[in-house]
């Protein structure tokens, strides 16, 4: 407890205090005070996180145990925070991006009533608190608390405007989908407890590494698969991805923070945290790679035909998460973390930019009714363009480096994975620039009323945009690949201690692929992407895609009818089963049984009461009879 990192508890403490203050004082505090408390709490966490990061960078890692959270028989689960390279990096992302989004929200949400404004910031702070718990937890149980906490906050914030029934439906959908994944997560944790008697990373992971954990290959396979199912829920992968696009019902800053930058990367964090386990299960890794790639491709195709600015970004998020899982599946854990980081920057930027657009358009989200916004919103235009370039993977911006690393890792595994991955990247470039050109280029297609009101957003909105744009550009330079500049991949060196089996990782990608091969791959992909970007830009600035889609385009616009399929295959049969059980089992059998017991008790009570006649004579008689009976049984029958 002498380690200075014992103070790490301060990081989640500030948002928790912010949540309590804003939550309890939402009716009495002024909006500016609420904003200051909410943003200030995250800023304070960010400052502590930076300090922690410096400590970790200096080589100081620590597991701080505060108290025994659960203690039952041989199982002891401490309330512990693990501060190492991985968690300190995530702390920076969460509190840094989180702070910017809080600042943004003070302006974006300003039209809400005071009470709801306070509620919003309370939820947002609670979310950051839970997310910090998730990444700081020293064992799977603390992680699970955070895991559930972020799920709850996501639910609360998606349904923030709870007066609209469809928003509540979206919130329910998100929560229920997540619960399916959470169940798998829980089973995995219990499995770990059953087999190893512990949930702490510090106990399990080194033991697994040395083969002394008591887990055989089947255990590891089952646990990793179950954890992965948990990750598919939280990180929106096939088959549990459909909640994320619907989650766009929440306020736009929420989409940026929760449904793009942080919460949805929880699954990736969890798998990287458990990379020791995953590296021992090649089957699971293959499953992850395939699921990730399929999700990336599926979501990218859907994004081609979406016309809601936030929906495009939502599917793009699903697609990019799929990319990260592809990286995990090919063993490039660091590349996945790298992409989490760069994605957090440019996707938050894009969402906040879209929020700025929606704000200017007076709530309009349909890109067919926008167009030519570049004239009116200079900062938003430029920052949004930077975000698009970054996500498309144009060299020099952050997305290029992380995407390239993932593709290189995929190529090593199999050229097929690389081919599909590259195709997905091209689709990404296409739909992002379709989005950009339709929104910002060409001529304005909205009403005169809207055109009159078009204006650049205030500083509280543009400031985070500028900061994130800068980060989207420079964020990639912590991971300059080996073949471009030797020893410039500082993220690799930083994260190396927490990634157990570097042999599988992209860190040694250079060892497998020669530099010339890498140059070639990068050259091909870059050339193709640039072509697609130019094509999409020119095509959609001149003639925006406003016609009703037909044929294959209609299938894409309807998201491959996956929601309809789920409804027919799962929801309706379940409802039918529920109706059946309600009518055939619950009402006649169970209710009858329960009410019958009650009636029986009442009836016996009425009869037994009559014993109490009020006559002393009868009382004594009954007593004497009982005594005689006992005497008789004692002496004549029990011998």
């Amino acid at each position: 407890m002498n380690n200075v990192l014992h103070l790490a508890y301060l990081v989640p403490l500030f948002p928790l205090l912010g949540f309590l203050i804003n939550g309890l004082g939402r009716k009495s505090m002024s909006k500016s005070l609420i904003g200051i408390v909410g943003s200030g709490a995250i800023l304070a966490s960010f400052i502590v996180s930076v300090w922690i990061f410096m400590q970790v960078k200096g080589g100081n890692t620590f597991t701080a145990e505060y108290f025994n959270f659960i203690s039952a028989d041989k199982l002891t689960i401490p309330f512990a925070f693990k501060i190492d390279q991985l968690s300190s990096l995530f702390l920076l992302i969460i509190t840094g991006v989180g702070f910017l989004i809080h600042v943004y929200s003070t302006s974006y949400m300003h039209e809400e009533k005071r009470e709801h404004f306070g509620r919003y910031f309370a939820y947002l702070n609670l979310f950051v608190f839970s997310m910090l718990l998730l990444v700081m937890g020293g064992n799977y149980v603390i992680m699970f608390i955070g895991w559930e906490g972020v799920g709850l906050c996501s639910y609360l914030l998606i349904g923030f405007w709870f007066k609209k029934p469809e928003y509540n439906k979206a919130a329910n959908k998100a929560f229920i989908m997540n619960r399916i994944g959470d169940l798998a997560f829980l089973i995995a944790v219990f499995w770990l407890i059953w087999k190893t008697g512990s949930v702490s990373y510090d106990t399990i992971l080194p033991a697994v590494k040395e083969g002394t954990s008591g887990l055989n290959n089947t255990d590891i396979l089952v646990i990793t698969l179950l954890l992965f199912v948990g990750a598919t829920g939280k990180s929106a992968q096939i088959p549990l991805y459909t909640w994320l696009p619907d989650a766009m019902a929440g306020p736009t800053p929420v989409s940026a923070l929760i449904h793009a930058a942080t919460m949805v990367t929880a699954g990736i964090y969890m798998i990287v945290r458990s990379n020791v386990l995953y590296s021992l299960s090649p089957v699971t890794l293959n499953v992850i790679a395939i699921v990730g790639l399929a999700t990336a491709l599926l979501a990218a195709t859907i994004a081609l035909k979406q016309n809601d600015i936030k929906k495009v970004l939502a599917y793009s998020t699903v697609s990019q998460l799929g990319y990260m899982f592809l990286a995990l599946g090919t063993g490039s854990y660091i590349a996945a973390v790298f992409h989490v980081m760069t994605h957090a920057f440019f996707k938050a930027l894009l969402f906040l930019g879209s929020g700025s657009v929606i704000h200017a358009m007076g709530g309009e989200q349909d890109i067919r009714k926008m167009g030519g916004l570049a004239k009116y919103m200079k900062i938003t235009n430029i920052t949004f363009l930077i975000g698009c370039l970054a996500i498309a993977g144009i060299p020099g911006l952050s997305g290029f480096f992380s995407k390239d690393e993932i593709l290189a890792g995929a190529f090593m595994k199999s050229p097929i994975l690389y081919g599909i991955g590259l195709f997905t990247a091209l689709l990404t470039a296409f739909y992002m620039f379709r989005l950009y050109a339709t929104t910002f280029k060409g001529s304005f297609r909205g009403t005169h009323e809207q055109e009159h009101h078009l204006h650049e957003s205030p500083a509280a909105i543009t400031f985070p945009l500028i900061v994130l744009a800068i980060l989207s550009i420079v964020g990639g330079y912590v991971g300059v690949p080996e073949f471009i500049m030797h020893g410039a991949h500082s993220l690799n060196d930083f994260l190396a201690p927490v990634i157990v089996s570097v042999d599988h990782g992209a860190a040694h990608a250079a060892g497998h692929l020669s530099h010339s091969e890498e140059w070639m791959l990068t050259g091909i992909s870059t050339a193709l992407i640039v072509i697609v970007v130019v094509f999409a830009w020119t095509r959609f600035s001149k003639k925006p895609d406003t016609a009703e889609p037909t044929g294959f385009g209609k299938i894409l616009a309807n998201k491959w009818y996956v929601d309809e399929f789920y409804d027919a295959a799962v929801v309706r049969p379940l409802n039918k089963l529920g109706d059946f059980l309600d009518n055939m089992l619950e009402k006649p059998v169970i209710d009858g049984l329960v009410n019958g017991v009650g009636k029986l008790v009442n009836y016996s009570s009425r009869q037994l009461r009559l014993l109490q006649s009020g006559q002393v004579g009868s009382y004594v008689l009954l007593m004497v009879i009982s005594m005689l009976l006992i005497f008789a049984l004692q002496f004549f029958l029990r011998k």
């Binding site: 009650g598 008790v601 009442n602 016996s604 009570s605 009425r606 037994l608 009461r609 014993l611 109490q612 009020g614 002393v616 009382y619 004594v620 009954l622 007593m623 009982s626 005594m627 006992i630 005497f631 004692q634 002496f635």
Partner: protein
């Protein structure tokens, strides 16, 4: 020994205070101060400080179990005085005498808790009973009270006869009253001591209102002035239980096989009759009478099991049950209408009182986090520890489930029914109620703060 002598002296002091003190509040002050002093000297004795060294010829023995129970009983009585002493004024003119009688009852309780000779047990039971007959009929103009008093006396005399007969037979078999010196053959005791034992079983069952010897209970509890029912149903009943346990542990412990079966039967019948009959009652006072029978059924499990967790548990049970029931009765005293409807809408009028009352009722029903839950848990655990009588455990749990019905009816009336349950209470009364409620929660969370006194 400290408390025994002081309580007798206090009884006499209270009799004189009625003549010397004109103010009723002064009498009450003397009684409460006296009781607090009594509790203090008893706790001092528990910590090893004796004021009197009297040779009792081995007829009494104050061990930790006895002293701890006496402390609990005294504490419960103190709570009872604080909450309800003022309501005794309503009963009749002889205010000081009621206190005097209660102090004499305490004297009997101390004897029953610490006897080592059957004579002392008999003496203690009678010293408890006779003042109770008087208190039951204390409201002389009330016919119901008089009827109850007479019934109680008649049947009490009957039970006293049984007890004396039993003691006589035991004396005949053992040649001594001293429980330490009795030596009965373990496997096949003669007819004489077994008959004596059964007679004592009947009379003790009568005193703790176990079925089928419980018939006096509803009539007496219902007829007696409510303030005194409160005392009778709690402290007195718990005390007789301690005597019951001691008697069957120390005197008849050697041939447990002969009586354990009968206790199981009596416990089951008591649980059944108490709980089931309580369901149909319309008066809360009468419901509480049956509830006290039902709770006695649970405490009988401790006599059945007769092991460490039984003895620890019965102390916790005595505390939990007494505190909760005294609390409920203290509120009942203030109501004009004793039916369930009388509680309608109490939560709106007196949220604090209703809240505390809810905790008391939850504790009686045995809902977790309250002392009542752990008390019941200890009882059931003690039976399971014996390795026999699993059916009894299951049956007891089912009956506890039935009890939820009638306890929750009160909660339902307070919170979910519209009505005008109008009572006036002082701030001090509320504080006392809240303190007891807190105590019940604390005991339900950390029972060891009570039980550890047995050992440290």
């Amino acid at each position: 020994m400290n408390a025994l002598i002081l309580s007798a002296v206090l009884g006499v002091i209270m009799m004189f205070s009625g003549i010397l003190l004109k103010q009723k509040s002064a009498v009450r002050g003397v009684a409460i101060t006296g009781l607090a002093a009594l509790l203090l000297v008893n706790i001092l004795e528990l910590r090893g400080i004796h004021f009197f060294k009297i040779d009792v010829a081995g007829m009494m023995y104050f061990d930790r179990f006895a002293l701890l129970f006496i402390s609990i009983a005294l504490f419960a009585t103190l709570v009872y005085f604080i909450l309800s002493a003022k309501d005794m004024e309503k009963v009749g003119a002889d205010y000081a005498e009621y206190f005097a009688l209660i102090f004499f009852i305490i004297c009997g309780i101390i004897l029953v808790a610490s006897f080592k000779s059957l004579l002392i047990l008999f003496l203690g039971i009678e010293i408890i009973s006779i003042p109770l007959y008087i208190l039951t009929g204390a409201d002389k103009r009330n016919l119901k009270g008089n009827e109850g008093s007479l019934k109680y006396f008649l049947m009490g005399a009957f039970s006293t006869g049984l007890m004396l007969m039993g003691i006589a037979l035991i004396y005949g078999a053992a040649g001594t009253f001293d429980v330490e010196k009795m030596k009965f053959a373990i496997e096949t005791p003669a007819v004489l001591p077994v008959t004596g034992m059964l007679l004592l079983l009947f009379s003790m069952s009568f005193k703790v209102s176990a079925a089928p010897f419980h018939f006096w209970t509803p009539d007496v509890y219902d007829g007696a002035p409510t303030v005194f029912t409160s005392f009778m149903a709690t402290v007195v009943k718990a005390a007789v239980f301690i005597g019951f346990i001691r008697l069957f542990d120390e005197t008849f412990g050697t041939f447990q096989v002969k009586w354990q079966m009968w206790l199981a039967v009596i416990a089951a019948v008591t649980l059944f009759i108490g709980n089931i009959t309580a369901v149909f009652q319309q008066s809360v006072k009468r419901m509480l009478a049956y509830s006290s029978i039902a709770q006695a059924g649970f405490m009988l499990l401790a006599v059945y099991a007769m092991n460490t967790s039984a003895k620890e548990g019965i102390l916790l049970y005595a505390a939990a049950y007494s505190l909760a029931t005294i609390g409920i009765f203290s509120v009942l005293n203030k109501l004009n209408d004793y039916t369930f409807e009388g509680f309608n809408g109490l939560a709106k009028q007196q949220p604090v009182v209703a809240g505390a009352l809810t905790i008391f009722l939850l504790s009686l029903a045995g809902i977790p986090l309250t002392a009542g839950f752990l008390a019941k848990f200890f009882m059931l655990k003690s039976v399971i520890d014996t390795g026999t009588g699993l059916w009894l455990v299951i049956f007891a749990v089912l009956m506890a489930a039935v009890s939820v019905y009638y306890y929750f009816r009160v909660i339902q009336a307070m919170y979910f029914k519209e009505g005008k349950a109008d009572i006036t209470v002082t701030g001090r009364f509320k504080w006392a109620l809240v303190t007891i409620a807190a105590l019940i929660i604390i005991l339900g969370t950390f029972p060891n703060i009570l039980i550890n006194w047995l050992y440290f």
